[in-house]
Structure formats: structure tokens, C-alpha cells
Subunit: 220 residues, 2 copies
């Protein structure tokens, strides 16, 4: 299935030229991030909660404590919205009105279902872990049966989704270009700092793993 | 009013020690960011949309095109959730299970009301502008009557809110500290890059304004 035919719920109405429904664009944005904001409704009140995610194929995996309200609500198969936003810059125009932001965002609608079975849950958790720090999963102690029981894992089929993207310089009213105002873009990006060792790190483990150095280079 | 008495809707149930309801903490987080995710419901379906904001006193201001679905929906006085998330690091534990993130987030619930009157709207837009790039508003062309008409501005009273914060190193199971695994925190922060001039920038405006250099230093 392609997203090239947006539904009435995912069609970009405001500034439609910023809308994109191709799987390539949407998955490109999803794969460049690992934090999403999940929207769900409890007794008519919407809640928006930040959480990590992982994508594999056409599925988005979410996880959390089996005791959390969000995970319990989502597991009930309710309508949710998962939004991923990458902020790329502040667009500084000559008029206040034409200020904007450069960004890449994806909005996904659907219903999540619980991932059942220890092997299936472990694989989904691997996907989430690899999305956040590729290479880490291999090194760490895997979840015990007890830990799997305490963890809820949910799968959201990526079936109804849209991307919205803005790039490039400001667009001003023609007469404003003559104004004596600096205009352009202040780029923004999430950057990594130097890894901070756990105070309890055994000196024999002091060497920062190569995959972390890679993660650093990729982001900074 | 203090937030020291959380409502049943804003009380942090999961890991309550991460919860904080003080105005000082909540406003500190709000003032360190400018991007929020707004959750609202249309025909039972939640939507989560990223947008800029500004805070003045106990009010959060949102703005957008008067034609946007989000702004029109919000102006109807429906229940919304506004969430602000600052991601500070990836917490790398020795077990997959104890991985986490360091973050500061605020969840606000309430109903927004339209800001009416050109002077009031202009002042609210100034607040949003100053939150994003302090100093910019003074320099740019202010909104015309036409532009104000095309802009919807909403005020959300910050009355029901909670913060959630995690800081510090990983916390592992006692027996896992003996594992041969690097553990610690990979810091993350939104950083600015070098300002990119508009290709149409008049050479006489080429000097990057001091307030932009300040914004850069603050974030990078």
C-alpha cells in the first residue's frame, strides 16, 4: 500500500505543498528520529506523552511499563495519533508574519495492538533499541522473563500517515525585501555530547564502544 | 495557585519521584523550549501537531493560520493537551531493561480561548516571537491589520500542569554492575548552527545581528 492517496484525516490542508504521502519520505523521517509524541484520549481528555519508538517494515513499535496508564490505554485498541518531529531551523523573515520553522514531521493515525509472546516482544524491543542506539542491543544483557512481563510492547501498523516538510529560506512579501533586516535560517539539530561514564563504571569497561562513537559522529 | 496539589489527571503515576508540580520547575522547562506538541480531538480521533509557543505569566500563547484545522478546533474551547519535551540524553544501562532517557517534560491540560483585538494579538505574537528568538521582534516589520486577521492567536491558562524529569546515570540491577558493558549517558541537546543568510539578502544587511549570535551561544 502506498500513502500516495491520503485519507481525509491525513490530507495536509494548510499549505498542501508541504504535504508528502510517500512511504520513502515518511520512513526517511521516522528512521532519522527515535522520539515520538503519542496522543490518546481518556474520558474525552486528550493526552500527549513523549516516548521512544522503533520502526520495522510497516510497523511502529512502542514500549513501556505494563503498569503505565498510556500503555494500558493504548493496549485497549483505541484511536491514537503518533507524531514525530525533527526541527531543522528557525526561518527568520523580514516581517514577523512570515517567520516560520524548517522541520520534517510525520503524523500517524491508527490503533495499536499488544505484541504477545516472549520472542516477539524481545524482537520488538530489539527494534526499539537499535533505532535509538544502533549496535547497543548486541552488547547488553537481554530482558529476563520477569522483565518482559513488566514491559508492554505495542505494534502500530503504519497505514494512515502523512509527512509535512518545510525547507529553505524565508519567503517575504516582495516589498519587504527592501527592509534593512537580516534574514535567513538559524539551523537547529539535535547533537550528541561526549559520553558521560556511569560513576560506577568498572575501569575495565572504560573504553567508549565504537557504535557509540559512530552514533556521536552521525549526530554531531 | 500552586501546582503543588496535582489533579487526578496530572498526577505522575509511573515513577512518581520523577514528578514535579512546582511553578518554578514547570516554567523553567517551558522557558527553555519553544516547540510544543498540541493534542486535540476531532470526531473521537486524537491529533498531535507540533507548533511554536510563548509563555507570559500564567498563560501559554499559541498561534497559526486562522484557516488551520487545529486553530479552528482549539478556538472552539475544546479540551486540549500541550506537551513540551526537552531531551537531555540517552541513558545506557548494562541491561536492555534499564535503558532510559534523561529529559524534562511538561504536560498541560485545559481549554484555550481566542485572543481578540489587534493590540492584544500583537502583544501575544510578540511573546511567541521573543520566546523563539529573543530580540528579533524589535527588528522586524510588525503584523499589518490584514496579517493579524489571517492569524489566530490562542491563550491557554496554565492551570493544570505537571513536569516529569529524569537526570543522572543509569540505575542497574545490583548483579549487572559486574557485566563487561560500558554504561553511562550519551548527552543530547538541540544546537544551533551558523546562520544561513537568505540568498536574497541585501549585502547591506549581511551582518548577523547580535541577538542571533546570543541565541547561538546559548544553545551551542
Amino acid at each position: 500500500m502506498a500513502f500516495d492517496a491520503p485519507t481525509s484525516r491525513t490530507r495536509i490542508n494548510r499549505l498542501p505543498k508541504r504535504g508528502d504521502y510517500s512511504r520513502e519520505t515518511i520512513y526517511g523521517i521516522l528512521d532519522a528520529a527515535f522520539l515520538c509524541h503519542v496522543g490518546f484520549v481518556v474520558e474525552g481528555q486528550p493526552y500527549v506523552i513523549p516516548t521512544g519508538y522503533g520502526r520495522a517494515g510497516d510497523t511502529l513499535y512502542l514500549h513501556g511499563s505494563a503498569a503505565s496508564r498510556m500503555l494500558r490505554t493504548l493496549a485497549g485498541g483505541v484511536d491514537i495519533c503518533v507524531t514525530v518531529t525533527l526541527l531543522d531551523g528557525i526561518v527568520l523573515a523580514r516581517s514577523a508574519f512570515n517567520h516560520s520553522m524548517n522541520y520534517r514531521s510525520v503524523v500517524m493515525l491508527g490503533r495499536a495492538t499488544p505484541v504477545e509472546g516472549d520472542a516477539e516482544k524481545t524482537e520488538a524491543l530489539r527494534v526499539v533499541s537499535e533505532q535509538i542506539v544502533p549496535g547497543r542491543w548486541e552488547q547488553v544483557r537481554k530482558p529476563s522473563v520477569q522483565e518482559l512481563k513488566a514491559t508492554a510492547v505495542l505494534a502500530l501498523p503504519i497505514a494512515e500517515a502523512s509527512a509535512k516538510i518545510r525547507t529553505g529560506p524565508p519567503v517575504d512579501e516582495e516589498e519587504d525585501y527592501a527592509l534593512d533586516v537580516w534574514a535567513g535560517v538559524l539551523p537547529l539539530a539535535m547533537k550528541t555530547g561526549a559520553p558521560v561514564p556511569d560513576p560506577r563504571l568498572d575501569p575495565k569497561c572504560a573504553k567508549v564502544p565504537e557504535y557509540l562513537e559512530r552514533a556521536r559522529r552521525k549526530q554531531s
